[in-house]
């Protein structure tokens, strides 16, 4: 029996702006069905890693495989992408419901029109992220946390197998963050894979079960229990290590 290919496999990936490397020779495997946090200091190349997987950036070298196949137009459609919320113009004249429905584009063919099933999926996704009351709200009236939840709902209706999220909890309050984590867990139960850039080192071990520590090169990756060590964190963030008020793994175990 053949082993299941990893959801994402990155080999020797190097990305540079002119001669300035942003990612140096990354080798990363993300097994199917894990919730993986990508942590690292500012400028570590976290967003660049996600954009390279999406084919939005031209790598200088290396390859990316999604579910065992080279990442290309076909494979990219198995990915649900949750961008940073500042990446779009929220003054666009449309409603919350409509933005979520954009994720249904292309399901079942380019010529198919949106139908009842799509509308139901959209409504369900909005309920999942506690936004059903705001479904008909103009998007410019949303708070930062609500914008982030709209993006999460939009990714949900894409029915992707692999989710790439760029700081999904940015600007979200603590209660909402908990409920969004519950959504991620449900995705995991359904066998999906999530790779999320995450900033809060204190919550990372609680929210995710795998981790990749990145600072231009990959310092370590693997199950949270082994990879998220104080030694690896120190190497990732340098001597002036930041906000690990509760040293995670070493203190716990």
């Amino acid at each position: 029996m053949q082993a299941m290919p990893p959801a994402l496999e990155v080999n020797d990936l190097t990305v540079a702006y002119r001669d300035k490397p942003v990612l140096w020779d990354i080798d990363l495997q993300v097994p199917t069905g894990v919730l993986m946090a990508v942590v690292g200091p500012n400028g570590a190349g976290k967003t660049t890693l996600i954009k390279s997987v999406m084919g939005l950036m031209q790598p200088a070298a290396g390859s990316v495989q999604v579910f065992g196949e080279p990442a290309g137009r076909q494979q990219v459609r198995r990915i649900g992408y949750v961008p940073q919320r500042t990446s779009v113009d929220w003054d666009f004249p449309t409603s919350v419901r409509d933005v979520v429905a954009m994720g249904r584009y292309n399901r079942g063919g380019r010529w198919r029109r949106a139908d009842r099933r799509d509308a139901e999926r959209v409504a369900r996704a909005l309920a999942t992220v506690d936004m059903e009351d705001l479904a008909d709200r103009q998007i410019s009236e949303l708070s930062g946390g609500q914008q982030q939840r709209v993006f999460l709902a939009r990714a949900l209706v894409q029915d992707a197998d692999l989710y790439l999220m760029d700081e999904p909890f940015q600007g979200v309050d603590a209660v909402t963050e908990e409920s969004m984590v519950a959504v991620l867990r449900r995705l995991q139960e359904q066998g999906r894979t999530v790779l999320a850039v995450h900033h809060d080192l204190r919550t990372a071990p609680a929210y995710f079960d795998w981790v990749a520590l990145l600072n231009v090169r990959l310092i370590a990756s693997g199950p949270m229990a082994t990879a998220f060590s104080e030694c690896n964190l120190r190497e990732t963030f340098g001597g002036s290590a930041p906000e690990w008020a509760n040293p995670p793994v070493t203190a716990a175990g």
Binding site: G55, D89, F92, P93, V99, M102, G103, Y105, N106, R154
Partner: protein
């Protein structure tokens, strides 16, 4: 109104309707200045196409000339991508050069063609209806009207067919790319649509009115609605209404039709900017004023609550001292006090001092807790 005048009006309305479609998306994509550039540089395209195929108004010539719009935007994008010139400056560099080349070529080579420098800026609605469409010896009205009707239908069909692609690629190009929509294809498709429309409208209204038709009705419509479909429909409608109003003024004062339409569009925008029910400046000003009053009432209640321990007659709760303590004018203090009294939040103690009622007390506690 004579049939000739009716045809002039119909042509103006048709041009405005045709311009609304690419214009509405250009405005949403923050590409208004690109409309400016394209509407000028297509002149060079028209001159070059005219020199190669001297059939003015032929569909092939329209598409040939439109290529210049795409070339313009490619040039702007390339300049921008060097990282040495920003987009607004790139537009400012590209289009005067290409446009001037067009003007120069006209004055050197095409002196006898009915392209002249005056027309370049203003076009001539009145002149354009004299070119008639004739088939088999029968007249079918002005050529420009038919040409613009064709372009309007083309734009409308494309907009309907690709409305999801246009919407997604405009709102979130990255999502578009992951869903299999090419943002670059949408971008240049829209640029080509804009160019074809600008070329088609060139002889009847010239470049300035083309910019007006593409930019002003959509920007005005955006102030009136938050729904994309209504925004697109209103853009067409407002363009047509402006044409009607402008034509009427020109007819009354016997002046330039194009100029009057531009003026009406500008006036319409100013009126909507001021008076739009939700987004307008007047509504905004009233909202702010109301908020200021509401906030002042809450502030007074909290002020009295915070100093309640001092006693019933103190410096802090004297009605005449609010000016000094809260920085209000005498008039504003009086208004806020009366309002708070009328709502049963505060009461007078010996005329001059203010105290909280139990309702006021509860509201203060809630305000401070929340």
């Amino acid at each position: 109104m004579s049939s000739l005048e009716f045809e002039i009006l119909a042509t103006a309305m048709m041009v405005s309707a045709a311009c609304a479609m690419p214009g509405a998306y250009l405005v949403l994509r923050q590409m208004s200045m690109v409309a400016d550039a394209i509407s000028h540089t297509v002149l060079l395209g028209i001159v070059l196409a005219f020199l190669i195929v001297p059939l003015y108004g032929h569909p092939l010539m329209v598409f040939g000339a439109s290529v210049m719009g795409v070339v313009t935007v490619l040039g702007i994008d390339l300049l921008k991508r060097t990282g040495l010139v920003r987009e607004d400056a790139a537009i400012g560099i590209t289009f005067p050069a290409l446009f001037s080349l067009g003007v120069l070529l006209i004055s050197l080579l095409a002196r006898d063609a009915h392209l002249d420098e005056h027309m370049v800026f203003q076009g001539d609605l009145v002149y354009s209806v004299f070119q008639r469409l004739e088939l088999g010896g029968r007249g079918f009205g002005p050529m420009t009207l038919w040409k613009m009707a064709g372009i309007f239908l083309l734009n409308g069909a494309l907009a309907l067919r690709f409305h999801r692609e246009l919407k997604i690629a405009t709102f979130d190009p990255v999502l578009a790319a992951t869903l299999g929509i090419s943002p670059a294809l949408v971008h240049f498709g829209l640029v080509l649509m804009t160019s074809v429309t600008a070329v088609g409208a060139f002889d009847s209204v010239g470049s300035i009115l083309v910019i007006g038709f593409m930019v002003v009705p959509p920007v005005t419509a955006r102030l009136l609605t938050d729904s994309l479909a209504r925004y697109l429909g209103l853009s067409i409608l407002l363009g047509c209404v402006s044409s009607l109003g402008g034509f009427w003024i020109a007819w009354t004062v016997n002046g330039s039709v194009g100029g009057s339409i531009s003026l009406v569009m500008g006036a319409m925008f100013v009126v909507v900017l001021l008076a739009s029910p939700r987004r307008g400046l007047v509504a905004d000003w009233r909202r702010r004023r109301r908020q200021r009053v509401e906030f002042a009432v809450r502030m007074l209640v909290i002020h009295l609550f915070q100093h309640r321990a001092l006693g019933q007659r103190t410096e802090e709760n004297h009605a005449g001292h609010l000016e000094a303590h809260l920085g209000w004018s005498a008039e504003f203090s009086r208004r806020i006090t009366e309002l708070a009294e009328a709502r049963g939040l505060i009461r007078r103690v010996d005329t001059h001092w203010l105290g909280l009622t139990s309702i006021g007390q509860r509201q203060a506690e809630q305000s401070l807790a929340g």
